[in-house]
Symmetry: C2
Subunit: 322 residues, 2 copies
């Protein structure tokens, strides 16, 4: 017996579109509607009215909880998450938590009341005690000990690549700079990979950190420059921190990349119209977004998810700063 | 008799928080909860159970329809819209239309089915025939002849300021470059204000346009540079187009701002870590976002909205390109 997915595949449209045609809701272009109707006829597809009615009472909302959509990495992530949800007939409820735990907990509560079908969350707060494994949640960049499914980029490998690329560009005295989170955030692996590779290669390194979020990053960078004038290779935990470091280093007379090579993390620049174009470890944002949605939908459908962590490969983007 | 707004004001919290406390849904910090309870006692506030129940059956979802959240102007707008909605107990459904009319129409249809309470829309498509004035919609940057409430920045004045600032910086042969929309988009007023002021001041100007969206903006800029080598002041319809123009002009040997002054529109750079820092007409994004939400909520509540267009003042940001 054929499923709605088979109809969607044959018609070359998303499941959401087939659903709109069957339920006669929403707007579907006549040409698309005809394709769907033809596919239904060809497969002799009979929508299960009971199942469908039951489903129609479910929520098709998925909430995306993130610190702020006004951040290029998060907005790119949200773009692809919404697209993947839409292809599957779901809609996206956006919640800027502003990093506030009470706002995050409010959304978890909505989940418990079945007002949303699931949550994709990016949180740096310690809300762990409120999270139960029996509700559909997928986390991005954050591990929970209770085995919430987590999708991340390969931060450890990213740190290793950064060290190797700094050395390849000529640095022999390197530093990691960034905010240190107290919780088990995946971003900590950037530092770990960096240190691991520096020790393996016998390169002298320093780690310069402050608790995250860094209250005054300009002052933080100035203190770093004063304390470690001999450093000639810097790996910053994010592209924004790398850009700030470069600006302040330049004002203090350092040339980038001549005097100091710099690598960031994220890959927020998708063009070369603003300078410096950063050398960076590019997060596989689209893949992370689609994977997170696919895993969440499996959980919502009650399917088992094989692994609890999905780590997606990063790549190095050569810019003007190494 | 006191309203829920009075309670919220006295407690120093949003209406949404008071609602969460009264209905015992969501999570509210104990200290906040106590403030709300104290305010309820002090005002002797009695929630109208019937009205409240009726309201609870309403949708508290507002959908934001925009071409793509992966665009800094739109993501900043979305950030403030979500924040203003949250303060009023509403939630944001995000829809990247990708500029596709069928996706926009799908959301309009959800509105008709009362699944969303209202829509804030940014669309450059001609979906006018589907829009009825009796449903709560607020448009940003786009006029509809059917008198949909529209919130915009003062694009005409922005164009006038751009011309004056180019001239002040020394330009005497100026150009407007950008995409031309066929619909009644507010962005067209940038050009109109620019022309108006150039004619008033007697400055020679050219308008170089292609239908929006410009398919190949690099080629577009190259053709412009070839055709008008004498231009020494450029006003680009967006910051991104300004940045692209600058990069290509530099590659062809022009210095910015020495040989040509450039002004963009939007104000997407909120820091000075990437260069050039553009001289630009800054959109009042936060004010536009909050105003759009406030107007929409008035419409949802059935209140009359005094004006149909709300034009918010822009400001000039001096960067490195004039």
């Amino acid at each position: 017996m054929h499923s709605i997915k088979d109809v969607a595949n044959l018609a070359g449209v998303g499941v959401g579109t087939v659903s709109r045609v069957i339920n006669n809701i929403g707007s579907v272009k006549p040409v698309t509607r005809n394709k769907v109707i033809e596919a239904i006829r060809e497969l002799n597809y009979v929508p299960n009215q009971v199942a469908r009615n039951f489903k129609m009472q479910r929520s098709y909302l998925v909430s995306l909880l993130l610190p702020s959509i006004f951040n290029q990495f998060f907005s790119e992530l949200a773009y692809h998450i919404e697209d993947e949800l839409d292809r599957n007939g779901y809609q996206l409820l956006l919640c800027n938590s502003g990093g506030k735990p009470e706002k995050e907990l409010y959304y978890l509560d909505m989940l418990k009341q079945n007002k949303v079908a699931g949550i994709i969350g990016i949180t740096y707060n310690d809300i762990e005690e409120y999270i139960h494994t029996d509700i559909p949640i997928v986390s991005i960049d954050r591990h929970f000990s209770k085995q919430i499914t987590c999708v991340t980029s390969d931060n450890f490998e990213g740190g290793r690549i950064a060290l190797k690329e700094l050395v390849k560009a000529g640095a022999n005295n390197v530093a990691f700079i960034g905010g240190a989170t107290s919780i088990n955030s995946e971003t900590r692996n950037r530092k770990k990979g960096f240190i691991h590779e520096a020790e393996a290669m016998g390169i002298p390194y320093v780690v310069y950190e402050e608790p995250d979020p860094i209250a005054d990053d300009i002052a933080f960078i100035k203190r770093f420059l004063k304390k470690y004038p001999e450093v000639n290779g810097v790996f910053a935990i994010t592209d924004m921190l790398a850009a700030k470091y470069i600006e302040i280093a330049k004002r203090s007379g350092l040339r980038v990349p001549e005097d100091v090579k710099v690598i960031g993390y994220d890959g927020i620049q998708d063009h070369e119209y603003f300078h410096p174009v950063l050398s960076t470890i590019r997060q596989p944002v689209e893949q992370m977004a689609r994977k997170a949605v696919q895993l969440l939908l499996k959980k919502i459908e009650g399917e088992s998810v094989e692994h609890e962590d999905f780590i997606i490969a990063v790549e190095y983007w050569q810019g003007e700063t190494t």
